[in-house]
Symmetry: C2
Subunit: 212 residues, 2 copies
Amino acid sequence: MLGQWPDKAIERLSLYRRLLANLAAERVKFIYSHELAQKAGRTAAQVRRDMMILGFSGSPTKGYEVARLIEAIGGFLDAGGLQEIALVGVGNLGRAILSYFAGRRPNLSITAAFDSDPAKVDRVIHGCPCHRMEELASLVAVKSINTAIVAVPAGEAQAVADALVGAGVCGLLNFAPVRLRVPGAVFVENVDLTTSLEKVAFFARRQLLRQE
Amino acid sequence: MLGQWPDKAIERLSLYRRLLANLAAERVKFIYSHELAQKAGRTAAQVRRDMMILGFSGSPTKGYEVARLIEAIGGFLDAGGLQEIALVGVGNLGRAILSYFAGRRPNLSITAAFDSDPAKVDRVIHGCPCHRMEELASLVAVKSINTAIVAVPAGEAQAVADALVGAGVCGLLNFAPVRLRVPGAVFVENVDLTTSLEKVAFFARRQLLRQE
């Protein structure tokens, strides 16, 4: 099934859902594909193709029904029940991640954090219990966790990824600035906040030089 | 100058620098292109092409000198002095960003935050003073800020981007789940943490279904 859904289509569905949730909050009931496309920075044809993935169709005269489309995307993207997520590394970044995701998605929740620092374990941080690294393999297995966030320093990231994959995890959101080596069946998404900011700052500076 | 440096080359240089900083911390003095390539998940040919952007060359027998290469990348990527950055939106995510970047880069620093909530302004949050939105245009101009981080809810992001661009900002790191409409000369990097996590969770779940 993994190859069947393109990575970018999943990103777009996630984005549509949040745009639609904003519309629902503004009591908008219907939206045309070209309107949703404009908000998402896509073409109307792209939006209509993505709706076909869902098997969802709109009315030619009124467009897509916002509430039903949110439900359809949820039915496709979300687990039936709660999907628990592990976080490894409760430093500055790990805490920021816990704080950001706390309560954000009803059925996607970080329920186990791990750190090698004894001062951080056996505590609850932003609502999430923090455990010793030695407990990682058994807790991930007991909780049937398949998704984990890696927020340790670069030098530790590969060992952490190996331990997670060994314990049954097959999706990693990696914040460490290294490319992880994992088996082909494991999905890795890299987020590198420092590089993103350095890049924007670099181009902004160059752009300014150009204008002077 | 903007078109001259490919986006992805800047990302790679930023990544190399952090990999090299780790090596320097481990007292490694020299590294071959193929070794750096392996750590960065690239080919040795790619690393050598990127070094040509810098005008940097290694020794055929010893490879690149780590300390000098870190300096060369810094000379290319960094501003000569401090480059100040503005952050708009000091909610849950904005605070996490302030906390994450505080002190991380000596010459790249978030020095002005803005929020529309009166309870947040005229305070110092994670070392950064938080101002009223009405002060944005004048402070960005006075401080010659060219780079800003957008961490407001989706519905406010376009208005915030317009205000920042109007005040002279030409690089935006956007965390709001919308595509910003900006003039062609403005560089926008989108980071969407919720979508990234939803995507990893989706593929991990699919992968697990496949194995069962």
